[in-house]
Symmetry: C2
Subunit: 294 residues, 2 copies
Amino acid sequence: MSIIDGRAISSELRASIAAEIKELKAQDLSFAPRLVIIQVGDRPDSSTYVKMKLKSCQEVGIDGSLQKLPDDVSEADLLARISELNEDASVHGILVQLPLPAHLDEERITNAVKQEKDIDGFSELNLAAIFKKNAAAKFIPCTPKGIMYLLKHEQVEITGKNVVVCGRSDIVGGPLSKLLEKAGGTVTVVHSKTSPEQLKFYCSNADIIVSAVGRANFITGDLVKQGCVIIDVGTNYVPDATRKSGQRMCGDVDFASCKEKASKITPVPGGVGPMTVAMVLDNLLESAKRSKKA
Amino acid sequence: MSIIDGRAISSELRASIAAEIKELKAQDLSFAPRLVIIQVGDRPDSSTYVKMKLKSCQEVGIDGSLQKLPDDVSEADLLARISELNEDASVHGILVQLPLPAHLDEERITNAVKQEKDIDGFSELNLAAIFKKNAAAKFIPCTPKGIMYLLKHEQVEITGKNVVVCGRSDIVGGPLSKLLEKAGGTVTVVHSKTSPEQLKFYCSNADIIVSAVGRANFITGDLVKQGCVIIDVGTNYVPDATRKSGQRMCGDVDFASCKEKASKITPVPGGVGPMTVAMVLDNLLESAKRSKKA
């Protein structure tokens, strides 16, 4: 069994992004990849993610900045801000940090970001391209893209393999299942309506299992087959008296029992998470390069 | 075993569409649902489909008309024609008969139809809405919609059931698998990269099998479990010396061996086919009613 070291792979990728940006800047003094994050309100978890993204930007030479808006900003004002950034040619990517306060229509806001700057890949047109057979999405959403990168990095064969994706969200399960299908996998999407017996039926036959349901211990060793590859997208918190905080972070996968059977497995933390941040940078660089060509 | 009689169910539905249109016309003399079909060139199969659609329109009180364009029409001219029809408030639905000659970009043409008039449901925005969890598509593509209608009509439970969709096309397999997933099914999409052993693994566990791969005898009785529901979307032609034409139409499913095990099964012809045409009318009526409200 080998543990897929998302931290190391992400760090390698970020180093190569940094090197490429450095080179592009050397070739063209006007090359200045720029990301703007819009954060509405002060959710502490959102602030943590934003800070992490900005720090990563800085490390690779991307000009990342935060535009904070008050908790009670009107939808019209937020849309106006997005529209300004859409028009600003110096901006290559716009991230609206989710979740938004309840009075704002997340759907409408997400779709307002110009497709060329939607490096999260959440807008409808981007998703549509992922789901269409021969269409190329402008941006692949960061978590699914990070997972596909990990599988490729680890030389995991997908064509003709049995794949189980647990969870059917628009951000992870939906697009990821389609990407895996396009890569030739036979994909089953299991979800809250799938019975435990069926879950076992599918998992025990799966060559690759990706879990993104947000439930600790959802995938246990008895469900999976010897030699499978397990990707854990979950971030859950469980009580842990040995920790100062009284809790610890864990994924959807019971690591202890699954690692005995898996050929490769991602840990939580340190698996998929670091890849997601790297893909924000990767998408932003892609966008900046495209706008340079245009 | 019961045979799902698509002809009878379609005919019932078309009668109810006709009755509704009659009533709406009686209430409002200006109510005049109108469909325009654009056909490029003279493919005989396309001409047959177009004729069938126009005849069905007439039967239910929809003003259906055909605009024929020469085989060598330029993309610009075709787009201009679509744009005119997009602007024409008297038109509620625009169908561009596919396939188009090779010099025309099907993707671009399909996306040019205004979402509000895209009763085929093939435009990117429509597809995106099908694939997003909580978004409502303006129109469900006719074949998947017809299949969902058949399953509902036959009171086939989907929630928590194991579903196999064979084929991953943008027109049938892709959207249908998502509709079945949204309805609570645990869906596996099998396709050309799925091995025969895997196909058997999934099919022998399936409560519902939908086949849309376009290969005669793709699903045989030995693959399926007792009591399953089988929906056959295939239209294939196989040699048949007893027929004048020397061939006969058949589906993807070996009807003789499968009907022994299925609880319900659609025949070909007379299963899914007639539903697709009915759904063109259904979507057109929906569009006309929406434009009345607007």
